[in-house]
Symmetry: C2
Subunit: 410 residues, 2 copies
């Protein structure tokens, strides 16, 4: 099997692919309110400071701090209340010595005021006079102009995946349209004479297409656009012509190869024919997923995934997701979501090979336990039962029962 | 401040709300290929076994296991090759004693065969005779009918959030339409005389509406449908009439209260007036987010969130997300995505109160360090800078520098 002469470790295989993959970012503008999950194409810069005026952080009295010096329960300061600061508007008053103004959380400090005394430390004694039983320092209970963000400060770097927080930050600055990177399109080709569409009745010997749909969902979740090119029979000319069409129309092409070695060879021949440099990696030292093919043709990534649905998904997590993220222009990848769990049983592994093992996650009081799902089948319901995957690094001989492991969620 | 007479711990506050909240699941049917993130409303049952025929897991020769007994490098067994199993169809041949058939991964075992010998252990010596250099047991390198899933087996429980794997599992069984729960609609009302829409220029004293949009994004991500009812001035009659409309049209209503105590009182009065039982929790022992109001009116959850954008989002994670998940009918919640990190500094906390502290996540070789983001402002860019939040439980006095903490991603 010439394809497995050189098995690269997964990280090295990915680097080899990425080093040959040109990245051209196309920018588009979307409504900020509809930008969740997109990636910023330009840094977001504050056009004005935040807050844009000195704001009170409490309900109380805006004061001149010096007027409260020495004030306490035993010896209150007496201040004249010259009015109430309206919400959302510039206060009409300005404070002279010995004066204060009623202010609410978020209200704008009137000229002359430099601190706020919390309402709890005050006692209104007449309609226009208040006892202050606490001294405050300059700036106390106030957020100053620019304390959150300064004018012209870069507040969201380019290449950031937009979460709720970034949407809020942009809105605070009045940025209601935002420049994001275009979603990469990923073409999916399923091969195999035994594969039929999911809406057809299966005859003996046939199996339904799973990979086109699991991969579509994964691409969608990662922020790409999946395009399905259907099920292609195991014939080189047919596969080549559809792959070529997909290569023209998409940014990435994924072929889920039939399961047998001959069909995998077909995939690799087609990738070689699609353009230079062609196949870069043929076989990865990972389980499941050894027969993975990584290539670049005419500046676009072309990936041959194993036909087994579990292998296909695991390999897509390891390779297709980072490729999509690269083409999305992500500069600051967020950590992979995971959860900590205690392993129930020993797990053996072949040193030198990286293993990804599906585990059931079982809640036990405040913690999780991870129970490996064994079975030679490696069929799709292994993953349905699994809460996540654990990685056995290539330099380990396995993991031990009782060990705390990080379970990668999917 | 009567609202804070009784501060409930967050978990108890949530239980109190959920115990008063009737859950009525509405079922709808969607295309399985478009069901990512939806929640199953019925158990998915296998209409046929998987695999539906005995399949080879390798490339090789389908054999009768007894014909290989004792075979090895030194003493091969010689078998007659009676044909090749076609992919996707019933094999035409059936094996007699001393016969075998070429088979590919995924191919259907011909009648008479009960195991497969890997191609690596064979040597074709004539066009129709093969040396077998390895013995196999019955069932070796074969997945038997029903080994993955048995007929009528429940394969996806009701109340499961659909991931790639579940889409694949359903497709494997020919389930191209799937029953899911209806997405709950959540009405969002922003109050505050100082709040203006994000597309308007701010004047001194004004701030833009952030919460309507951060909450919309969160609701969308959780699987609900956000509906924004705009910015409402701090007047009881106006707030009541719009809240009533939202209550009629939505399954959950969230009011992000203005920041001051008087406006929070307004929210709680309006919730009381919207229906019974009304306000259930007024004040939660959590920071940020103490002035949270939880209520149920006419069978629907009505939540008063603090106006501060950081508090609003944190409280929405703690309360609004589980309410949406409950109305989605989720029975098997997935663990909250998190990442393990080493805390850089001591964090003090008040015993008895649960704290959520935003942290910057910094990658350091293969691990993360978590650097708390301090600042009195609690403004939105605190969260923009944050990779996640860490929880200081109410029974702790804080966390220590160097401790390994779980950072909850958002």
């Amino acid at each position: 099997m010439p394809e497995f002469l050189e098995l690269l470790p997964p990280e090295e295989a990915l680097s080899r692919l990425l080093s040959e993959l040109p990245v051209q970012i196309t920018i588009e503008s979307v409504k900020t309110e509809a930008s969740l999950g997109r990636v910023t194409a330009d840094p977001v810069v504050a056009v004005h400071p935040l807050p844009s005026f000195d704001r009170s952080t409490v309900d109380g009295y805006a004061v001149r701090a010096t007027d409260t010096h020495g004030a306490g329960e035993a010896l209150p300061a007496y201040l004249k209340v010259v009015g109430e600061v309206p919400m959302g508007a510039v206060p009409a008053m300005s404070l002279e010595q010995g004066q204060c103004a009623l202010i609410h959380t978020g209200g704008m400090l009137p000229p002359g005021a430099d601190a706020v005394v919390m309402i709890e430390y005050s006692q209104l004694i007449k309609s226009a006079e208040v006892e202050i039983m606490h001294s405050v320092a300059v700036g106390e209970n106030v957020i100053m102009v620019g304390e959150d963000v300064k004018r012209m400060q870069e507040v969201i770097p380019s290449g950031t995946r937009i979460r709720s927080a970034e949407i809020g930050g942009a809105m605070a600055l009045g940025i209601t349209d935002i420049k994001v990177t275009r979603k990469p399109h990923l073409g999916i080709l399923s091969t195999g004479d035994e594969i039929i569409p999911p809406d057809e009745e299966i005859l003996p010997g046939q199996v339904r297409d799973i990979n086109s749909y699991t991969l579509s969902a994964l691409v969608e979740k990662t922020g790409g656009v999946p395009r399905r090119y259907g099920i292609i029979s195991d014939r080189a000319d047919k596969l080549y012509s559809i792959a070529q069409k997909a290569l023209e129309e998409c940014d990435i092409v994924v072929v889920t190869a039939g399961s047998s070695a001959s069909v995998r060879d077909l995939t690799s021949q087609v990738i070689e024919k699609l353009g230079i440099p062609g196949v870069l990696v043929h076989g990865v030292n990972v389980r499941p997923g050894k027969p993975t093919i990584l290539g670049v043709c005419e500046g676009k990534a072309v990936i041959g995934l194993p036909g087994n649905p579990v292998s296909a998904l695991v390999i897509a997590w390891l390779f297709v997701v980072p490729i999509i993220e690269t083409l999305l222009g992500i500069q600051h990848p967020q950590p992979s979501p995971s959860v900590q769990a205690r392993l129930t049983t020993n797990l053996a592994s072949q040193a030198g090979r990286e293993d990804w093992v599906p585990v059931r996650l079982i809640r036990e009081q405040d913690a999780y336990i991870a129970e490996p799902i064994f079975g030679k089948s490696n069929l799709i319901f292994t993953l349905v039962k699994a809460g996540g995957l654990i990685r056995i690094p290539s330099d380990a001989n396995g993991l031990s029962a009782g060990e705390i492991v990080q379970v990668r969620l999917f």
